[in-house]
C-alpha cells in the first residue's frame, strides 16, 4: 500500500498538468469563438453542433484518433510526437470545448440588451463593450461552463494511458488488468479527489464572479494548487524512475537510459519488468510506459518514443504486415524478422514461448461435447455462446477460425480480458478466446482446443529494439540471454501469481521469480 502511495504523486502531477493545459487551451479556443458567433445565430448553431459531435465520440476513441491524426499529418508540420502528451492534450482540449463554448454563448446572449444599448449610446467601442459589459456580465455563466469541463476532463484524462501519457489512468488500467483492486482504487480515488478539489476552487471563483466580488482569492488558491502539484509532487515518491530525462539522453552518445513499453495486460507488465530488471543489473536505467494500446506501442517503437518492448509475431504478421493466417510458425517468424529489419527495428528473437489465441472451454463442457479440436465444436456451436476480448471479434483470427472450422455460434459477448476466464468458469459463456500462456486456463480447469488447420497464427513472444538502442552492446548483453529461456509453463505460472485472487504478487515480484526460475546467465 505504501508502495502505491509513493507512486501516486508523479501520476497525480502529470494528470493535473494534462487537465490544466487542456482546460486552458479549451478556454483560449472557446472564448474567442463564442464572442465571434454569439451574436450570429446562423453561425453559432453549426459551431455548437460540431463541438457537440466531438463530445459524443467516446473518450478512448478520440484519444486513439488523435494518435492516428498526428501520425498521419506528420506532427501537423511542427514535428509533434504522435505519442503521449500531444495527442492526449489535443483530444482532451477538443473534449472540453463544448461546455465552455455553450455556456459562453449562453452567457453573452443573456446580457440585458438594454444594458448593451445604453453602453453603446454612452460611447463605448465594440472592444470596451465586450471588456466592461458583456464579459463581466457573462462571467458567472462562463465560469460554470469551465467547471463542468474541468470535471469531465479529469475523468476523460484517465483514458490517456493507452496513448502513452502518464496519468492516474496508469493505476486504473494496470489495477484492472492485474486485478489489483487497491491500485485501481488508488487511481480512482485520486482522480475523484482531484475532480472535487478543482470543482470546489472553480466553484468559489464562479461564486465570487456571480456576487461581483473580485475572484482573486479563489484564483490564488488555484495557482497555489498548481505550484504544489507541478513542482512539489513529482519530487516525492518514485522520482528517479519517472524523471523526464528521455530527451536529454537521446542526444548522449552512450545509451544509459531506456524507455520501455508495455501493453495493457498482466503478461506485458511482467515481461517489461523482466526487461527492466535485466537492464538495471547491467547498469542501464529504464522508464516504463505502461498500458499502451496494442498498435500505439508499435508506432511508439517505430518513431523512437520507446526503445524496447515485447511483441508477438502473429500480431505483427496480421496487424502491421496485413497478412492472413495459415502460414507455418517458422515462416511467420522469418517473415516478421525480415520485415522488422526493413523497418529499422531489431528483433532479439523468441523468448521461448507462444502467447497465441486459443479457444478454451471448461473441461466438463469439453468432455460432454467430446471436443478435442476445433472441428469437434462445429456441430454444437449453434447452441453455444462465445466470449472474446475487445479485439477478438474484429480480428482476422476470428474470421479465419470460423471459416476453417465452419463455426456458427449462437451468441457472442465481449469482455475485458481480465474477466474472460471467470465468465467461462461461471458459465456465462461456453467458449472464450483465451491466451495460451495465461495461467488461468489451468487454474480455472479449462482446456484449449487443438487447431490442426493452423487457422490461428503463431504468436511467439519476441523482444523488439528501436533504432536508438538496436546496436548498443550493453543493451544487447542485458537482453539477449533472455531469448529461448522462458517456457510457456514458466510464463503461465508467473501470470497466475499476479492474476490470482489470493496471495497476489506484483508484476515486479513475478518478474524476479521468473528470472530466477529461468536461470538466465548474467552478461553476454
Amino acid at each position: 500500500m505504501s508502495e502505491l502511495l509513493r507512486g501516486l504523486p508523479p501520476l497525480l502531477a502529470a494528470h493535473t498538468e494534462l487537465v490544466l493545459v487542456a482546460l486552458i487551451a479549451a478556454i483560449a479556443i472557446s472564448l474567442p469563438l463564442a464572442i465571434a458567433v454569439a451574436g450570429k445565430p446562423r453561425l453559432a448553431l453549426p459551431v455548437v453542433t460540431i463541438a457537440g459531435v466531438i463530445q459524443t465520440i467516446p473518450g478512448l476513441a478520440l484519444l486513439a484518433l488523435m494518435v492516428a491524426v498526428i501520425a498521419g499529418t506528420h506532427g501537423l508540420g511542427v514535428r509533434l510526437s504522435p505519442f503521449g502528451f500531444p495527442p492526449a492534450v489535443i483530444a482532451l482540449t477538443l473534449y472540453a470545448i463544448l461546455p465552455i463554448l455553450r455556456n459562453a454563448i449562453t452567457g453573452l446572449r443573456g446580457v440585458d440588451p438594454a444594458v448593451v444599448e445604453a453602453a453603446r449610446g454612452l460611447g463605448m467601442t465594440q472592444g470596451q463593450l465586450l471588456r466592461f459589459v458583456e464579459l463581466p456580465l457573462a462571467a458567472p455563466v462562463i465560469a460554470a461552463g469551465v467547471r463542468t469541463a474541468a470535471v469531465w476532463t479529469v475523468g476523460a484524462a484517465t483514458l490517456a494511458t493507452p496513448v502513452g501519457q502518464i496519468c492516474l489512468g496508469n493505476y486504473i488500467f494496470a489495477g484492472l488488468q492485474t486485478r489489483n483492486w487497491e491500485m485501481l482504487l488508488a487511481g480512482v480515488i485520486a482522480a475523484a479527489g482531484l475532480a472535487i478539489v478543482l470543482d470546489l476552487i472553480l466553484g468559489a471563483i464562479e461564486h465570487a464572479l456571480a456576487r461581483r466580488e473580485r475572484p482573486w482569492a479563489a484564483a490564488g488558491v488555484l495557482v497555489a494548487l498548481l505550484v504544489v502539484v507541478l513542482a512539489v509532487l513529482p519530487r516525492l515518491g518514485g522520482a528517479d524512475s519517472n524523471a523526464p530525462v528521455v530527451a536529454e539522453h537521446r542526444a548522449a552518445a552512450k545509451v544509459t537510459h531506456l524507455r520501455l513499453g508495455a501493453k495493457t495486460y498482466t503478461e506485458q507488465y511482467i515481461l517489461v519488468e523482466v526487461l527492466r530488471q535485466r537492464l538495471a543489473k547491467a547498469g542501464v536505467a529504464a522508464d516504463v510506459a505502461q498500458s499502451l494500446g496494442s498498435t500505439v506501442v508499435f508506432d511508439a517503437l517505430a518513431s523512437g518514443e520507446i526503445d524496447a518492448y515485447v511483441e508477438y509475431s502473429g500480431t505483427l504478421f496480421i496487424n502491421q504486415m496485413k497478412r492472413s493466417a495459415g502460414t507455418p510458425r517458422w515462416r511467420v517468424l522469418v517473415e516478421v524478422e525480415s520485415w522488422l529489419a526493413h523497418e529499422g527495428i531489431r528483433s532479439l528473437g523468441s523468448l521461448g514461448f507462444e502467447n497465441a489465441y486459443a479457444l478454451a472451454l471448461k473441461r466438463t463442457t469439453a468432455e460432454r461435447l467430446h471436443a478435442k479440436q476445433l472441428a469437434d465444436l462445429a456441430p454444437h456451436a449453434p447452441e453455444l455462446s462465445i466470449g472474446g476480448d475487445y479485439e477478438w471479434f474484429s480480428r482476422g483470427e476470428w474470421a479465419s477460425v470460423r471459416a476453417a472450422y465452419d463455426l456458427r455460434f449462437a451468441r457472442t459477448a465481449t469482455f475485458d480480458p481480465s474477466l474472460l476466464y471467470d465468465a467461462v468458469a461461471r458459465g456465462e459463456v461456453d467458449v472464450i478466446s483465451a491466451f495460451s500462456s495465461d495461467g488461468r486456463i489451468a487454474a480455472n480447469d479449462l482446456v484449449t482446443l487443438a487447431d490442426p488447420a493452423g487457422a490461428l497464427p503463431p504468436y511467439d513472444a519476441m523482444i523488439l529494439l528501436g533504432k536508438r538502442v538496436a546496436d548498443d552492446p550493453d543493451v544487447a548483453c542485458a537482453l539477449v540471454p533472455l531469448t529461448g529461456k522462458i517456457t510457456v509453463e514458466l510464463m503461465r505460472r508467473a501470470n497466475l501469481m499476479v492474476d490470482r485472487a489470493d496471495d497476489k504478487a506484483t508484476p515486479a515480484a513475478a518478474a524476479a521469480w521468473l528470472l530466477e526460475q529461468a536461470h538466465v546467465p548474467d552478461g553476454c
Binding site: D112, V115, A118, R120, L122, G123, V133, L137, R212
Partner: protein, 249 residues
C-alpha cells in the same frame, strides 16, 4: 443645434423614417410624439448615430455627423433610455462616471463630478450602492445623472419615464425641465404620452407612420392641427382634459 435634412431609413421593406426634415434650436426642448412603430425612436437615434439614415443628412452643432467618429460623437451627447440600462456589476458612482472614464478623467475629477450630479438629482447618499438596491425612480435619476456626467450640451431621452409610477413620473418630469433650464441644454425627448409632450416641451414633433406630420408649439398644434391625425390627437387631449376637469370639480 440639430438639423435633419430629408432623412429616410428603411429596415428591409419597411419604412421607419420617411423624408423627415426638422430643425431644433439650441436650448430648445423638443418632444417627438408618436405611437409605437411611428419611427420616433429611429429618428432620434440618428442624432447619436445608433442608426444611420439611408438618405438625407443630420447636422449636429454645425457638423454633418456622418463625417464624425460615432463613438466620439456619442460621448458628447447625453443618452437616456426607458430601461435605464445601468451596468449591474458597477456601483452607482462607477455607473455615473462611465463616460468620464471613457474620456480618461482623473479619479479626483470623476469623484467631484459624481458628487455634484448626485446632489443635482437629489440622491446624495447612493454612490457606493449597486443598481439592484435602488427603486425604479431612483435608477432613472441615476440614468439621467450618467447622461449628464461629461457635461453634454445635447440630451436625447427615449421614453425615459414610461415605466415609472405616476407620482414618480411627474416628479421626474419636473426635475428634467428644471435641469434642462439650469444647464441650458438642448433636449430631445421621445414619448408616446401626449400629456407629457404638451406639458414639458417647447415644441412637439408629431410622427405618424414613419412620417413627420407637424411641428409646432403645444398651442399651435391644438389651435391649428395640420391634418386629421394631429387634429384627432389634440381633440383627444382636449376631451381628456374636460373629462378630468369634470371629475376633479
Amino acid at each position: 443645434m440639430i438639423a435633419f435634412a430629408d432623412v429616410s431609413k428603411r429596415f428591409g421593406a419597411e419604412w421607419a423614417v420617411r423624408h423627415v426634415s426638422l430643425e431644433i434650436a439650441e436650448g430648445e426642448f423638443v418632444a417627438v410624439l408618436g405611437e409605437s412603430g411611428s419611427g420616433k425612436t429611429t429618428l432620434v437615434k440618428m442624432v447619436n448615430r445608433l442608426v444611420d439614415p439611408d438618405e438625407g443628412k443630420v447636422v449636429v452643432a454645425g457638423e454633418d455627423i456622418r463625417a464624425t467618429d460615432a463613438v466620439q460623437l456619442r460621448r458628447t451627447i447625453g443618452y437616456v433610455i426607458q430601461q435605464v440600462g445601468l451596468l449591474p456589476h458597477l456601483s452607482i458612482a462607477d455607473n455615473i462616471a462611465i463616460v468620464p472614464t471613457l474620456l480618461g478623467w482623473t479619479d479626483a475629477a470623476k469623484a467631484t463630478r459624481v458628487a455634484e450630479l448626485l446632489a443635482l438629482i437629489g440622491l446624495p447618499d447612493v454612490a457606493a450602492r449597486f443598481p439592484d438596491q435602488l427603486s425604479g425612480g431612483q435608477r432613472q435619476r441615476i440614468g439621467l445623472a450618467r447622461a449628464l456626467a461629461a457635461r453634454p450640451k445635447l440630451m436625447l431621452l427615449d421614453e425615459p419615464f414610461g415605466a415609472l409610477d405616476p407620482i414618480t413620473r411627474v416628479a421626474l418630469q419636473g426635475e428634467l425641465r428644471r435641469i434642462h433650464k439650469e444647464l441650458a441644454l438642448t433636449t430631445v425627448m421621445v414619448t408616446h404620452d401626449m400629456v407629457e409632450a404638451l406639458t414639458l416641451a417647447d415644441r412637439i414633433a408629431v410622427m405618424y407612420r414613419s412620417e413627420l406630420r407637424q411641428v409646432g408649439t403645444p398651442t399651435e398644434l391644438v389651435a391649428h392641427p395640420a391634418d386629421e391625425y394631429v387634429a384627432r390627437l389634440m381633440g383627444m387631449a382636449k376631451h381628456q382634459a374636460e373629462q378630468l376637469a369634470g371629475v376633479i370639480a
